[in-house]
């Protein structure tokens, strides 16, 4: 319950934060909402020498439409996303996913960037980040850099973010209403056993499918997408495509769900999410 001691700094600007990170290197951890880091600190699984609190940097919490895209600041909480009228209108998958995260208290504090940088293989956001082809804009000593969703989640708890970089903003496309997130929850922790985010692009006759909780990292179910590309979204087509949701991945197994059941849920929830998204078209 009591973290190991650490030093603390609270930069006022991103530039200051980047400098601090450069200065302390691997010994430092960034603190956003703290809902991934603080539990690890309390269990002493994480024992950074320095914690850099980016929570007070002005203007890192925003949701706006900009150049035809939706941009969300790093410090935006799950709650802000859940209740955003703009997102409900322009990118409804985000509030839908947000509603599935943790509980009210966690959503009030936890942040979008904090969660995706932690890259827990069972977190909800990665499914949406992948399905929406989001872009992550980072800032580091060499200036800003943009990482595509497909390249962002590298492995278990590992992202393409370098240790001297800070995730500043996440950018999403504007979508129609034809999106859905269907999740089987690990009832003790609230994380996903299998969470499937689907975006149906009806005009282009494509779907994109992001799946979390099933494998060591969230992934795009490309086999499902290929199978459905250019096809009508009939019940049969969707079911046949959804059956490929766990193709070429190694599902994890634990006391909450075996790998076989996870694979099954990936398929089932994919079918259900496809049906739901299609019904919203």
């Amino acid at each position: 319950m009591i973290p190991a001691a650490f030093d603390y700094s609270r930069p006022q600007t991103l530039e200051e934060a980047v400098n601090l990170l450069a200065q302390h290197g691997e010994a430092a951890k960034l603190l956003a909402g703290g809902h991934s880091l603080i539990p690890a600190l309390k269990l002493r699984l994480a024992q950074p020498k320095t914690v850099i609190d980016i929570g007070r940097i002005a203007d890192l919490s925003y949701i706006r439409e900009q150049d035809g895209r939706i941009v969300v600041g790093a410090m935006t909480t799950h709650h802000a996303i859940e209740t955003s009228a703009l997102l409900e209108e322009k990118c409804p998958l985000l509030p839908e996913v947000a509603r599935h995260i943790g509980d009210v208290q966690v959503r009030n504090r936890g942040t979008l960037a904090g969660s995706i940088v932690h890259a827990d293989p069972a977190a909800d956001w990665p499914a949406a980040i992948l399905a929406l082809d989001a872009e992550m804009e980072t800032v580091g000593p060499d200036g800003p850099r943009v990482i595509a969703a497909k390249k962002f989640f590298v492995d278990l708890f590992q992202t393409a973010l370098r240790s001297d970089e800070i995730l500043r903003e996440i950018r999403f496309p504007v979508t129609a209403k034809s999106v859905a997130y269907v999740k089987t929850v690990q009832r003790a922790s609230g994380f996903a056993i299998a969470g499937v985010a689907v975006v149906v692009d009806a005009p282009r006759m494509t779907v994109s499918v992001g799946i979390t909780g099933v494998a060591a990292k969230a992934y795009r179910a490309t086999a499902v997408e290929t199978k459905l590309a250019g096809q009508s979204l009939s019940a049969e087509n969707m079911a046949a495509a959804a059956a490929k949701a766990a193709n070429r991945v190694e599902p994890l197994g634990d006391i909450h769900a075996s790998s076989e059941y996870r694979a099954h849920l990936a398929q089932l929830n994919t079918r259900r999410a496809l049906v739901l998204a299609a019904s919203r078209a």
Binding site: S36, L43, L45, P48, L156, F157, A216, L252, D254
Partner: protein, 151 residues
């Protein structure tokens, strides 16, 4: 927990086997290995610093080899502990000539205990596989690099 895998290394079994017995080579390949010293016949001590995301820990361990039958097989016993818990395991390693290359098969019975076992059950197998994968990837690269000039 049983972790097994097969890796093909572009070198002859005898060469691969020899390299597997050399601490200096192994240290380069073992993820997070800061120190690997031979302390006796077929006995070593190791210091590892391993991190998965923000979960980092230091481990000290002992390695013992038995059933050594060069260049075909050996058994490795490992016992290590650190802040977040302990690891204990036995791995049977078999090498088979596959043309000019070696097919290495390992089958490890690994026991993880303490905090990592308790909080990490969801991902521990994935972590173990990942670490094993990293080891063999690096080891192959080193061994292959090591033999290439001789051709």
């Amino acid at each position: 927990m049983i972790i097994q895998g097969t890796h093909t290394i572009a070198a002859a079994p005898a060469h691969v086997f020899d390299r597997l017995m050399e601490p200096a080579f192994l240290q380069q390949a073992i993820p997070g290995c800061e120190k690997l010293e031979k302390t006796g016949e077929d006995e070593y001590i190791a210091h590892l610093k391993l991190g998965i995301g923000s979960i980092k820990g230091s481990y000290a361990g002992k390695v013992r080899l038995t059933d050594r039958q060069p260049p075909h097989k050996f058994t490795m016993h490992l016992q290590g502990s650190g802040g977040p818990g302990f690891v204990k395991g036995t791995s049977a390693i078999e090498l088979k000539a596959e043309g000019e290359a070696t097919e290495l098969h390992y089958s490890a019975n690994v026991q993880v205990g303490g905090l990592i076992a308790a909080v990490g059950s969801r991902v521990i197998e994935a972590v173990a596989k990942k670490l094993a994968g990293e080891f063999f990837l690096k080891f192959s690269a080193i061994v292959e690099h090591d033999v290439k000039p001789e051709r």
